[in-house]
């Protein structure tokens, strides 16, 4: 790569604008990348002497400090660090001077789906060229400014660690900022050849490590406004359930409760602190009309999903060869049913939103994962122009998909209440509210039929999915459902890289009264389990080594082969496991990356213990190896929590799971050693936040098969052992 790169995609237009403005902070050089149709607005901001709008990507201040605006939410994935590295690489600045801030809502920060969002493990995919170009453009302007001052050619000057250097001496970026701002913006810049990278590919310390190690980082729940009231809300247990009555007076009797407000089928209790608001909420004694919903349990749901496999023909989502003919000639067949429960995201920071609406304009503070959508939704509720809704994106205490709410649920709720109250409010979800909040990784039931011929060769695979929609009834449906096929339900088994002679996958989407959402790795969180345990089953049936069989079936996929080769080299696969332990293997492609795990597992009575995980990863160019490792470590832990324990319990039409006592997650003592290895490549980055998860559970299940001779096909795995 490298070389002359033109600004080609829609947010990398040639028509950069820049301004220099004199503010109290001094001279600031900012870049603006206007979208089509927005030039007038930008011409105004270019007025000399007027402070630039806060929609810059990079600012260099006179004290040489550099503020980089990140157009994605920092929710733990380290995006503020890795995107800063992209700019630092090309800008040739001093890493110590960099500070990363979250972008406000503005079309110039748009990415996927024509909006500002963080999701689908896509931030470095969309930002890789854009942020490097920004850094390179700024560097060239600084070099030009220095050359002009010295009366030299730009070729006689070079950028180096925050200075422009020549035979005449050196000038800091801060000294050059205002002069650089007067120069034309280059429309073409040369990006570095990856072999010259000094920052990209280096294990940089997270830019937020210090403030997150000293209690200084501000999350949504930490926002404090003058006269702000804390709010805890009683919500219906699941959608479409009506509130019949509640005891308002009980809540009002509690000292410190300032108001009790019914809105829709919810009741808000306002107080001067969260604890009082919660006590008020807990005293409401709400009665709901559960009629028509009160019979629903995990068991009825599972049965309904299973029945739909035969009652609903579904839609074909992948078809290769002739599966019917393959089964007609089969000597042996295997039929297997897989069951996946609803899962909560259970972020450490429960959902929350702080809002200040004065009747004319609104400000919101939250870990906004889809700020453009949030802004639009709030404007609609409040009946004001979206320009009057100012979104402040603060650190999110985890998301794993939850804060990318397809309906902007908790933000809309805050706006509905603020419209009535018109006072600064912080809506706090308790842990129990968060668990029972009604947005879950959907239940899925898969059925796989495998055919083997008289020579015991694997010849056919018929695969059926019953999976609840992830995106139905949301504005995002149109981006994701095409011809009745919902990619986020079938991804990972449909279009699998495995070479399968006769293959048929179909899908139907049962629609029970549960609200669903993406959950780290989305469809891959269940499809990989089925695919990778099926491959293991084929290896066992055909008496082949599970790694060799994968190499055979993935011959046409060089990235998979490279990951398998790296795993074979770095893991103890093929060697005898310690006594009572077994190794399990799985590999999966998701979000354009390929990740394979070998896990070492033991079983003590019913207690599954994962001792060690070796991970091989092809995610393209690794921007921050230390941060990338952290993402794999984290995905493994998140995946293991779900694999071993994760299950929402539904009784009488309501989620009863409430807190970490009945939704156990992995703790320190259960943490396996995780070793992560990356395929060495300079291809552009591919996803990383999610791809480490999918292969985790099937690798464990494959190891457990070796220990028990039993195929566990129901998640969580502890259920299958019970």
């Amino acid at each position: 790569m490298s070389n002359e790169t033109e600004f080609k995609n829609e947010f990398n237009r040639r028509d950069f604008l820049r301004t220099t403005g004199l503010t109290t902070a001094g001279l600031i050089l900012s870049f603006y990348i206007p979208m089509g149709g927005r030039k007038e607005a930008f011409a105004q901001t270019a007025t000399p002497g007027v402070a630039p709008k806060p929609n810059a990507f990079i600012e260099i201040k006179p004290d040489n400090s550099i503020v980089i605006t990140i157009n994605h939410l920092e929710m733990g994935q380290g995006i503020n660090t890795s995107m800063s590295q992209l700019i630092a690489e090309e800008l040739e600045c001093d890493w110590k001077n960099i500070r990363a801030v979250s972008a406000p809502v503005d079309a110039i920060y748009n990415g996927r789906m024509g909006m500002q969002m963080t999701g689908g493990s896509s931030s470095l995919i969309t930002g890789y060229d854009q942020y490097r170009q920004l850094g390179a453009t700024m560097r060239e302007m600084l070099v030009s400014a220095a050359a002009k001052r010295w009366g030299l050619a730009t070729s006689e000057c070079r950028a180096e660690n925050g200075f422009v250097v020549s035979s005449k001496g050196r000038l800091s970026y801060g000294e050059l900022a205002s002069e650089a701002g007067q120069l034309p913006v280059p429309t073409q810049v040369t990006l570095k050849n990856p072999k010259d990278f000094k920052v990209i590919g280096q294990p940089m310390t997270r830019v937020d490590a210090m403030e997150k190690s000293t209690g200084k980082a501000i999350y949504g729940l930490d926002v404090r406004l003058p006269k702000m009231q804390f709010v805890v809300i009683q919500r219906p247990p699941l959608p479409n359930i009506k509130l019949l009555s509640f005891d308002e007076s009980a809540a009002r009797k509690i000292s410190g409760v300032s108001d009790v407000i019914r809105f829709g089928d919810s009741v808000a209790v306002l107080a001067k602190d969260t604890w009082t608001a919660r006590r008020g909420r807990d005293s409401l004694n709400p009665k709901y009309d559960l009629q028509g919903h009160d019979k629903m349990t995990n068991e009825t749901l599972r049965e309904d999903f299973k029945k739909s496999l035969t009652s609903d023909p579904g839609v074909v989502v992948d078809k290769r060869g002739d599966v019917t003919a393959a089964f007609a000639k089969a000597k042996n067949t295997i039929e297997a049913t897989y069951e996946f429960p609803y899962l909560a995201h259970a972020t450490m920071e429960p959902m929350n939103c702080t809002i200040d609406f004065d009747g004319d304009k609104a400000e919101l503070w939250s870990g906004h994962q889809m700020p453009t959508m949030d802004q639009g939704a709030v404007a609609q509720v409040l009946g004001i122009a979206k320009e009057k809704v100012q979104i402040h994106t603060v650190y999110a205490g985890g998301s794993f998909g939850r804060r990318g709410s397809k309906t902007c649920d908790y933000v809309v709720e805050a706006a509905q209440l603020a419209k009535i109250v018109k006072k600064p409010l912080q809506i706090v979800w308790t842990r129990e509210d968060d668990m029972r909040g009604g947005f879950y990784r959907p239940m899925n039931v898969h059925q796989a039929h495998l055919a083997f011929d008289e020579k015991n060769h694997f010849v056919g695979w018929k695969h059926q999915i019953a999976g609840q929609s992830v995106v139905a009834n949301s504005p995002l449906e149109k981006f994701i459902v095409k011809d009745g096929i919902e990619s986020v339900v079938v991804e990972g088994v449909a279009q699998t890289a495995y070479s399968i002679p006769n293959f048929l996958v179909d899908c139907r989407r049962p629609n029970p009264n549960m609200t669903t959402l993406w959950w780290r790795s989305v469809g891959h969180s269940h499809t990989a389990f089925v695919t990778e345990t099926v491959i293991d089953e084929i290896a066992h049936q055909t008496k082949k080594d599970a790694l060799h069989l994968r190499q055979e079936m993935l011959k046409a996929s060089p990235r998979h082969l490279a990951v398998l080769a790296l795993l074979a080299k770095k893991s103890p696969w093929g060697k005898p496991a310690p006594k009572g332990h077994a190794y399990g293997l799985a590999i999966h492609e998701s979000f354009k990356s390929v990740v394979g795990h070998v896990v070492e597992v033991s079983l003590n009575q019913k207690e599954i213990k994962v001792h060690h995980v070796w991970s091989a990863v092809d995610c393209g160019q690794v921007v921050n190896p230390d941060g990338a490792r952290a993402q794999i470590e984290g995905a493994v832990v998140y995946g293991l929590s779900a694999a071993l324990y994760g299950e929402m319990v539904i009784k009488n039409g309501q989620v009863t799971t409430s807190n970490f006592n009945d939704y156990p997650v992995l703790r320190m003592a259960e943490m396996p050693k995780v070793d992560v290895f990356f395929v060495d490549t300079h291809s552009p980055p591919t996803g990383l936040g999610e791809p480490g998860l999918p292969a985790t559970a099937p690798a464990v299940a494959n190891a457990l098969f070796k220990l028990t001779g039993k195929r566990l096909r129901r998640l969580p795995l502890s259920r299958g052992l019970a």
């Binding site: 929710m75 937020d208 209690g215 604890w275 259970a346 972020t347 920071e349 794993f400 006592n661 703790r667």
Partner: protein, 156 residues
């Protein structure tokens, strides 16, 4: 009632049964201490009461009267024994880029500091036992362990 937080006496006008967590966060503005579960299940709310780690989400504010409360904001300004360990822990946490989302890390750091005050050179078992009350959903456990070892080394 009067409470002593991070060495400062502060006046509080809240019910005595209010959990210390909410008095710290909502009434006094010490937001470094986090709410995670409200039931002493996750450890995000860990603070020191007279240099002993407690879960502030289940500790009534009345039981903190007459004692010294230390939060993440003031952990480096307490007794020398605690402050020294806390600084080593924070340095190791930063150096190893332990935090991801970071929300649980105040509690993790308080627990790790308490561990190292008691055991200067903890074994892996000590670390597992002591730290298993603190949940991290981002999965930073491996780094937490490494950072505790690193801090321990720097102190000896």
């Amino acid at each position: 009632m009067e409470l002593k937080v991070n060495g400062k006496a502060v006046e509080l006008n809240v019910p005595g049964d209010m959990p210390l967590l909410w008095a710290l966060r909502d009434t006094l503005g010490y937001t470094g201490t986090k709410y995670g579960c409200g039931m002493s299940l996750c450890g995000a709310c860990t603070v020191f009461l007279d240099d002993e780690p407690i879960r502030s989400c289940v500790t009534p504010v009345s039981s903190a009267l007459g004692k010294e409360v230390r939060t993440i904001e003031g952990i480096s300004e307490g007794t020398k024994a605690v402050a020294q360990v806390a600084d080593a822990v924070k340095t190791a946490w930063t150096k190893l880029s332990v935090p991801q989302c970071g929300y649980c890390q105040s509690g993790q750091i308080m627990s790790a500091t308490a561990l190292l005050v008691k055991h200067k050179n903890p074994t892996k078992e000590d670390i597992n036992t002591f730290m298993s009350g603190n949940i991290c959903r981002c999965g930073t456990y491996q780094r937490i362990e490494q950072a505790i070892v690193e801090a321990s080394r720097s102190l000896t």
